[in-house]
């Protein structure tokens, strides 16, 4: 196994606030990796740096052997890294099918094939019945599925998911988890930011924990669950705000008992 996606010592500051203070993570090819950490620990910033939406002050992003630090978002996507956003971003005034075609790089002659592929993917996530509706009329959960589907059409090697289960009902969370597993079995690599611990621990083969802008520990879920540094990160002064406040309506209820927090 080799690292397909790596960040090395990424630093990023907004004015006086250090969002990332040397974040180093590594995602093995063909795995589902999780990225967890309290609010404000820099997870989304790290996503933004990897996908070119923000330039790091220091550090490097590597895709395989290739340095992709500070490439523009369209170039990062072309390299083979797709992502979804925490607050789902779809093209609301385009139809669902048109949303799928934005990411599809194709010529006129391939139009038919691409459309068929788009419909297949919509069927895969279960919203093909809405293909001709305006995307803005989809429910929140359906939007999440659409966002996953239109990222898939360009066949990226790594997919970064920013809170795929946030604010989604339990049935849909299971569907999303199933789809991620199925894609993974076909060889897709995932990096997932998620606050729903059940989701992360059930899905990921390795988990990295960010705290105050750097990775404090990474390893298999069983190890993370009992790691003292992780418990510290979650049970520091920020505990109430960060974990309790972050659970979406469908999230697992947060217990007072520290050992349950990340079980």
């Amino acid at each position: 196994m080799t690292a397909l996606l790596r960040t090395e010592g990424i630093k990023k500051a907004y004015g006086g606030v250090q969002a990332l203070t040397g974040a180093t993570i590594s995602v093995e090819e063909g795995t589902i990796a999780g990225l967890i950490g309290p609010n404000g620990s820099g997870k989304t910033t790290l996503f933004n740096v990897i996908t070119g939406y923000q330039r790091p002050d220091e550090g490097q992003v590597l895709f395989g052997d290739r340095v992709i630090t500070s490439l523009a978002p369209d170039k990062v996507f072309a390299v083979g890294i797709g992502r979804t956003f925490q607050l789902t971003r779809i093209f609301q005034r385009l139809t669902v099918l048109e949303n799928m075609l934005v990411a599809a790089q194709h010529s006129r002659s391939q139009r038919h094939t691409v459309r068929r592929r788009a419909m297949e993917l919509l069927e895969f996530v279960g919203i093909h019945g809405h293909a001709d509706l305006q995307a803005g009329s989809l429910s929140y959960g359906q939007r999440k599925l659409l966002e996953l589907a239109y990222v898939l059409i360009a066949d990226p090697r790594v997919i970064l998911l920013d809170e795929p289960a946030g604010g989604v009902n339990p049935t849909l969370i299971n569907l999303i988890a199933d789809r991620i597993r199925e894609l993974n079995s076909q060889g897709k690599t995932f990096l997932i930011v998620e606050h729903n611990m059940e989701f992360v621990m059930g899905l990921c083969s390795s988990v990295s924990v960010l705290e105050s802008g750097s990775c404090v520990v990474s390893g298999p879920p069983e190890m993370i669950r009992t790691d003292k540094r992780v418990l510290d990160a979650y049970l520091g002064a920020d505990f109430d705000d960060d974990v309790a406040g972050q659970q979406g309506p469908a999230g697992t209820p947060v217990e007072e008992d520290p050992s349950d927090v990340i079980s």
Binding site: T51, F91, R93, L94
Partner: protein
């Protein structure tokens, strides 16, 4: 499928009829006072449709397209004067005017396309005033007295007819270009930029290139129709070539008809331009200021009451009529809720008379 093809057939038929009417118009109404309305209408159909190709699709509202229009007028005048081109040969210069328009759009885009939304609008206005000031102050543009065009020896009736058909040609070509853009992958990328530019970029859309291409198409067409307008009225001054009201007018036409749709700007231009011209000729509306006030009122009305324009709102009404008063598209969940609400309402309504009866 059959409904679709029938719809397409109806639409095709309507297009043919509209085109036939447009061609017949100057042949039936030969009076130059009437055909003049037609010439200006076609000029504005072209300009508003061209505006829509960039601004309507991308959502970058430009209030500075007069930059291209005025530059086209001046470019044609300067080239005709400098190279001593006369008569109908002046029309051969129009492709060059288009190239100049494209070049100006490129520079315009490099300045303005790095910013978005409100800042973009403000920058287009600023660039517009820079161009107007340049026209006022450069010596080669003739200062405030502007430029005159060479004369055409045509008689009044064929003069208007010929210009009408030239402008109609531009209008039809622009609508065709707009349709091609709309149906292409390029057009889809433009509309994706309108909805969420950063997201589009993250999906591999080369946003700057896409926006720039659209702006260049718009600038080139607008400059050419500006050249036609200049040769038609035989003159251009800084305040007529670079007219802030002109900018507002084409934006209003697009909004009134239907921002972003293909037929919208056409319909808007066909309503507003003849309307404005007619108002200006009515003596009781002294000096034509009323038409400007009216324009402002229409603008307010459109933005507040029907922001999606005649085409979208009209289509909605037709759909509603067909579905007999029910809203055209109702998400499944909504119907359930609406049904429940109707039950509740119906329940209380049916209860009320009973209660009344009981009371009596």
């Amino acid at each position: 499928m059959t409904a679709l093809s029938r719809g397409a057939a109806i639409r095709g038929g309507l297009l043919v009829v509209a085109l036939a009417l447009a061609i017949a118009f100057p042949l039936v109404f030969t009076n130059p006072a009437v055909t003049q309305y037609g010439v200006f209408a076609m000029i504005f159909v072209t300009a508003a449709s061209a505006w829509n190709i960039f601004s309507g699709n991308s959502g970058y509202v430009s209030l500075g397209n007069a930059v291209f229009y005025g530059s086209g007028a001046y470019a044609l005048g300067l080239m005709a004067k400098g190279w001593n081109v006369q008569g109908t040969q002046v029309f051969d210069l129009l492709p060059l005017v288009g190239l100049i328009g494209a070049g100006i759009a490129l520079v315009f885009g490099l300045i303005a396309l790095h910013v978005r939304r409100h800042t973009f609008i403000v920058i287009t206005i600023a660039v517009f005033f820079i161009f107007q000031l340049m026209a006022f102050n450069f010596s080669f543009t003739g200062g405030s007295s502007g430029l005159n065009s060479p004369f055409l020896t045509w008689q009044p009736v064929p003069y208007n007819q010929n210009f009408y058909f030239i402008a109609l040609g531009f209008a039809v070509a622009t609508v065709i270009v707009a349709t091609l853009v709309r149906r292409s992958r390029f057009g889809l990328q433009l509309r994706a930029i309108r909805d969420d530019e950063d997201r589009a970029r993250g999906l591999g859309v080369k946003t700057m290139r896409v926006k720039m291409t659209a702006l260049v198409i718009t600038g080139s067409i607008t400059a050419m129709i500006g050249g036609v307008w200049f040769y038609y009225i035989n003159q251009v001054q800084p305040q007529t070539g670079f007219d802030p009201l002109w900018d507002l007018q084409i934006v209003l036409m697009a909004f009134l008809g239907g921002y972003g749709s293909i037929s919208g700007p056409v319909i808007g231009a066909l309503i507003i331009e003849p309307g404005t011209l007619w108002l200006n000729t009515q003596p009781q509306f002294s000096g034509g200021y009323l038409s400007e006030i009216l324009l402002g009122v229409i603008f307010l009305f459109v933005v507040l009451v029907m922001p999606r324009g005649i085409v979208s709102t009209g289509a909605e009404w037709i759909k509603r009529l067909r579905s007999r008063g029910r809203p055209a598209v109702v998400p499944a969940v909504m119907t359930e809720q609406a049904g429940a609400a109707a039950l509740v309402v119906g329940g209380t309504a049916s209860l009320q008379p009973q209660a009344k009866d009981g009371g009596q």
